[in-house]
């Protein structure tokens, strides 16, 4: 085919065509790679990008058709360029989804959580060099373009929208016990599936909440902006607490040990913002749930196996407890607008009424829809009985069962909890050789991380083999 670059618009078309070809090559190379867990999500995402590139290529072809007006020709070239830029941006969204960033074996257990809980959305996992766990929800409108190619239309129809992207920290911060936090992120995906009834909160607390904010601001009523901020903050906190509740029911103590520990290093204050309730509040609720049940509680079982009293700050001493409301308001006013400070202060005071409702709803949802996914105190007892001793002599929790012929693979939540029990209470008893010098036991932790990673890999191997 002759190359026609005899006019500015034709040169522009060539530039876009060049971009599209390079993007096609990049997408093609990405498709050829192996993804962790052989998970289909990254390939589905790449198919969407291919569909966009096909659409852009069709725009370019149409721009070159005889009889096309100059205006239309320019419009089509520009639109093709925009699609190329979008495709490039969407490739960036999946950076870190490959085998170099994510260990192969951790994806299947995480995906199984999604499946057990009935989250059927198309999903991919990726790691980034950031201390962050996140669930992003990507709507189909991003791929709603004029005159889509047949390939884009077909792929969009095959996706279970919204597309979910789970982000975990990569490389040095990819720490196995912390993966309990992914259960929290899955909770975000389930928030809208629950049939919420917050009427008890509305009946007992809502009016009082408004009044307290007005009183604190010395206003007769709140302006529309403040009300909107209150509504948004309330919605965010409610969803965060719901996600915490899911993580609690899926992983038990593991989320109590991981989430506040992770948060304490990220926040220099109370962790309280328009998007998140105070870390101390979230931790208190988790601790109360672990202590619930008397002699059959998680806390009692923890003590039975580790001889340690579970305390609220057991693994998160740097979490700051917010002071009383008046002082909290003063503190927040040093960094925020006073309206925002007043809303956050009083919303914080209202949370005890909300948390019970939230946890009850989540528990009910799981008991109705995915009861087998609940990590119970009895299971915790069995896990520590079976695996804690062997872990101390370097036998990872790969499988459980009384005899060679009756072994079953260990559940992911069990591996996390056995790992935390060793990490927090038995690290000195772990009979492994660690490199010297061992900074506060960090090298010993590295061995533990290796054992837990191996447990995940080999329990999955047994599961796949049996399947």
């Amino acid at each position: 085919m002759a190359v026609d670059i005899d006019s500015p618009i034709r040169r522009a078309r060539l530039a876009v065509a060049f971009s599209l070809e390079r993007l096609r090559t990049q997408v093609s190379e990405a498709k050829a790679q192996q993804f962790p867990g052989d998970h289909p999500g990254p390939l589905q995402w790449l198919e969407l990008i291919s569909g966009l590139l096909d659409t852009a290529a069709e725009y370019l072809k149409r721009s070159a058709e005889p009889g096309q007006s100059a205006k239309k020709e320019a419009e089509l070239v520009r639109d093709a360029a925009h699609l190329a830029f979008e495709a490039y941006n969407y490739l960036v969204l999946m950076r870190g989804a490959g085998m170099d960033e994510l260990p192969y074996a951790i994806i299947p257990p995480l995906q199984r959580w999604f499946e057990q809980l009935g989250v059927s959305n198309s999903t991919f996992f990726r790691a980034e060099l950031l201390a962050n766990y996140e669930l992003a929800s990507i709507p189909d409108r991003l791929f709603s373009v004029r005159d889509p190619s047949a390939s884009l239309t077909k792929t969009v129809q095959q996706i279970d929208w919204p597309f979910l992207r789970v982000t975990v920290p990569g490389k040095a911060f990819a720490i196995v016990p912390h993966l309990a936090i992914v259960a929290h992120e899955i909770g975000h995906a389930l928030f809208s599936k629950i049939n919420w009834d917050l009427s008890p909160f509305v009946a007992t607390e809502a009016d009082d909440l408004f009044k307290r904010i007005c009183t604190r601001l010395m206003l007769p009523h709140l302006d529309a902006g403040t009300v909107k901020f209150l509504q948004d903050a309330f919605r965010s906190w409610w969803e965060e607490l719901s996600a915490d509740a899911f993580a609690f029911y899926l992983t038990g103590p593991a989320i109590f040990f991981s989430l506040p520990e992770f948060s304490q290093f990220l926040s220099d204050g109370y962790g309280l913002s328009d998007t998140h309730p105070a870390t101390d509040l979230r931790r208190s609720v988790l601790f109360a749930k672990l202590s619930d049940g008397g002699s059959n509680s998680f806390a009692t079982i923890f003590k039975k196996h580790t001889a340690k009293d579970l305390t609220e700050d057991f693994n998160s001493p740097l979490v700051l407890r917010p002071p009383d409301s008046d002082q909290l308001y003063v503190d927040l006013c040093t960094k925020q607008d006073q309206n925002i400070a007043a809303v956050l202060t009083e919303l914080h005071a209202s949370m005890p009424v909300l948390v019970g409702l939230v946890y009850d709803h989540v528990e009910q949802y799981l008991r109705t829809n995915a009861t087998e996914s609940i990590y119970s105190a009895q299971k915790y007892d069995a896990d520590l009985s079976e695996h804690l001793g062997p872990m101390l002599v370097a036998v990872p929790p790969i499988e459980a069962g009384p005899s060679l012929d009756s072994k079953v693979p260990t559940e992911f939540a069990s591996i996390l909890n056995v790992g935390w029990a060793v990490l927090l209470t038995k690290l000195g008893d772990l009979q492994v050789r660690a490199k010297e010098p061992d900074l506060f036991g960090a090298n010993r932790l590295e061995v533990l991380q290796g054992l837990l990673s191996k447990a995940v890999e080999l329990s999955e191997a047994r599961r796949v083999w049996e399947r």
Partner: protein, 208 residues
């Protein structure tokens, strides 16, 4: 030093923790551990490492200061169930066993390639002895001495472990420290004291 037979191996799986032998997971017990034999079959795992030596002159622990990182010589590959890695004639690769092994302080083990593979030219393991109190996955050194490329699939039975008792071994809680080795790449060529002495000797010779 007696070799454990199949039923004795099975019994050692149920011993108290400090004396327990662990080979996990054994995916097909009737095939991998038979009472009429004296070994446990082990499978290819998922981790492989391919030597990529073209960027260095020679593997020489005294050639650089700090010493050459042996791990840098390899490219690691994770091959899941259902996929394969091909070992070509005269190629050398490292492969982890699928099974995690933990030896108590009174047992040593020897890893031997299966004869079927041997007849195809595949040599398994040069470091065949496994010390008491070893814990981890085994690293197999595979070399294809045959004429044909061989496809290797994770899960294939690749070798067998023989267990011997150690005479007068100390047993009991707190005996030994387990390595917990789950990475197949080598760490160092010589132990620290040996390395230092050899380095001094090399320098002394160079001054002559």
């Amino acid at each position: 030093m007696a070799v454990l037979n199949g039923s004795q191996i099975r019994e050692r799986f149920n011993d108290p923790l400090d004396q327990r032998l662990v080979v996990s997971p054994i995916l097909e017990p009737p095939e991998q551990l038979r009472d009429d034999q004296a070994s446990v079959d082990v499978r290819l795992g998922f981790q492989f490492a391919l030597l990529t030596p073209s960027l260095i002159g020679a593997v020489d622990e005294f050639d650089q200061d700090p010493p050459l990182s042996l791990a840098s010589l390899y490219t690691k590959r994770f091959v899941p169930f259902g996929r394969r890695i091909v070992i070509h004639p005269h190629q050398f690769i490292l492969a982890a066993t699928l099974e995690y092994l933990r030896l108590p302080s009174d047992l040593v083990a020897y890893v031997m390639g299966r004869s079927t593979w041997g007849r195809l030219g595949l040599v398994v393991a040069t470091a065949v002895g496994i010390q008491p109190s070893f814990a981890g996955t085994l690293t197999l050194e595979l070399r294809n001495l045959g004429e044909a490329p061989l496809s290797l699939y994770p899960g294939q039975v690749i070798a067998q472990l023989f267990f011997h008792t150690v005479k007068d071994a100390k047993t009991g809680e707190g005996i030994g420290q387990y390595s917990g080795a789950v990475d197949l790449l080598p760490k160092q060529m010589s132990p620290a004291a040996t390395h230092e002495n050899l380095k001094k000797l090399k320098k002394a010779v160079e001054k002559i």
